[in-house]
């Protein structure tokens, strides 16, 4: 049972199993976490516990730090020069900043979906199996099964099964985003991070993704950043409200959207924020 991000971890080193069910759901804990872009502090003393196999939504106005925190979970922010942090983030009790943690292995455990779908200029099939290919997986049966299971999981299989080897770029916006989710879950991550995954989609495509998110939480711990408060209220179990780099309130979504405790939360979600 994996509880560290060591590259020697058998769970991380191979993707030989085609099942999409992670071996164990993750538990993310953020402890007294500060984050800086150069000298500018973007996050202030964040403390947060994200439970297993639930959808946690991050909401707040632009620049409040929600995406910054999300990108810390898979250490993506480290691609930006001059960033630094204090405090800790743990998954299963193990710090993601521990020197023994191998970043590539960490990111394999944490799938990510972005605002704009980012298909690779290759076939649908190759898009989905890309995370397996880069780990050296070449067994055709494993790759085929992964494609089928991943695309079925995102309810795209029936729409594309006859053109798997055609370019992915011919899909619609909603289909492309579902393809990217299929790719994100192909390598059996435990956590799925979503940064405004529906902001470029029409209402029908959005509804399909939302339905998918609710379905996927059976197998994955999902953290979603969204500007749509109605989306957060529809699909998340827990909601965290951020403002000016601070976590203002974190509670059950039902509580946040019916009776928030903090006035700043109330003002933001009711549209009274000046």
């Amino acid at each position: 049972m994996p509880n560290s991000f060591s590259p020697s971890d058998p769970h991380q080193a191979t993707s030989s199993s085609a099942t999409l069910v992670p071996l164990e759901p993750s538990f993310i804990e953020v402890k007294e976490f500060d984050f800086f872009y150069g000298k500018k502090q973007a996050l202030f003393d964040i403390n947060l516990e994200i439970p297993d196999r639930q959808v946690t939504a991050f909401i707040g106005p632009s620049g409040c730090g929600k995406s910054t925190l999300l990108r810390n979970f898979n250490r993506m922010n480290e691609l930006i020069p001059n960033v630094s942090h204090a405090g800790d983030i743990t998954i299963h009790g193990t710090s993601i900043f521990d020197p023994s943690v191998e970043i590539i292995a960490l990111r394999r455990r944490i799938g990510m979906v972005f605002q704009k779908s980012n298909p690779f200029p290759m076939s649908l099939y190759e898009n989905v199996v890309y995370p397996l290919r880069i780990t050296g997986q070449r067994q055709r049966a494993v790759l085929d099964e992964t494609v089928e299971r991943s695309l079925k999981a995102v309810v795209l299989w029936d729409e594309v099964k006859d053109r798997l080897h055609e370019s992915a770029l011919g899909l619609s916006g909603g289909q492309l985003q579902r393809l990217c989710i299929a790719r994100a879950i192909a390598s059996q991550p435990e956590i799925l991070l979503m940064d405004e995954p529906c902001s470029a989609l029409d209402p029908i495509a959005t509804a399909k993704i939302e339905e998918l998110i609710v379905e996927l939480k059976k197998d994955f711990t999902i953290v979603i950043v969204t500007h749509s408060m109605h989306q957060a209220s529809r699909i998340s179990d827990l909601t965290a409200f951020f403002y000016l780099g601070k976590l203002i309130e974190f509670d059950q979504t039902n509580k946040i959207f019916t009776a928030p405790i903090q006035k700043q939360t109330e003002d933001y979600i009711t549209g009274r924020f000046g």
């Binding site: 109605h230 959207f257 924020f273």
Partner: protein, 227 residues
């Protein structure tokens, strides 16, 4: 405390209009209640007839409140205090309509009593009438001012009204034994007192809705054992 306006002005306007409609409905109902009482005390059927006729306008306002509430929910998808405010306003509209129905019942009973000579027991209703009107007034003021404390006071007054009604009933039942000729009149008085007691109950319901709107606390059925 009145909440600040929304960034979206039409949303604020719609919410304000909904609340205004509730207050207008409450004002008409209070006028009808006073007319029915006046018809009873002054033996004037015209006041009673006015109270009965004007009830239709109140029914229409109840439906208007529901339409406005649904419109806000479908168009603006309110959350938190706004959502509670819309739901509470719709529930308060329903309670005011029931108070108006009790008012019509009082007016009808009063018309029946006006055909007979007045009995001195009529004035034993004074306190009950005053308290029922006060509770309704206080509940609506609490709604107007988003005043949780004032709403909780209404809940306390309800117990007092229940007791006054109970004692009035006991007394009139004893009077029936002594003066059987007046039984129909005493029965009408008991039923009018019952209507006033129901007005108190509906006012207490309004107060509960105000507390929910202001603080998100559901204070209904407190103290009752769950089955």
């Amino acid at each position: 405390m009145t909440p600040r306006s929304h960034i979206l002005t039409p949303f604020t306007d719609r919410l304000d209009h909904l609340r205004q409609t509730v207050l207008e409905m409450a004002e008409l109902t209070k006028r009808n209640l006073k007319n029915s009482i006046r018809g009873l005390y002054e033996h004037d059927d015209d006041y009673c007839n006015n109270a009965i006729a004007d009830d239709e306008e109140i029914d229409l306002l109840e439906m208007q409140i529901d339409r406005e509430g649904l419109h806000i929910m479908s168009r603006f998808q309110p959350v938190a205090s706004d959502l509670r405010d819309v739901i509470s306003s719709m529930k308060i509209g329903a309670n005011i309509e029931r108070i108006a129905d009790q008012t019509v019942s009082i007016a009808r009973r009063a018309r029946k009593m006006n055909a007979h000579p007045e009995v001195k027991e009529l004035h034993e209703l004074d306190k009950i009438i005053a308290l029922a009107i006060k509770m309704f007034d206080d509940a609506i003021q609490a709604y107007l001012n988003h005043d949780e404390k004032a709403a909780l006071e209404v809940k306390i007054q309800d117990k007092e009204l229940d007791l006054l009604n109970k004692n009035f009933n006991k007394h009139l039942i004893l009077r029936m034994q002594d003066d059987s000729e007046q039984i129909p009149t005493y029965l009408n008085l008991i039923l009018i007192s019952r209507c006033l007691e129901r007005i108190g109950d509906h006012s207490a319901n309004i107060a509960e809705d105000v507390v929910f709107a202001v603080s998100a606390e559901d204070i209904r059925h407190l103290g009752k054992t769950a089955s």
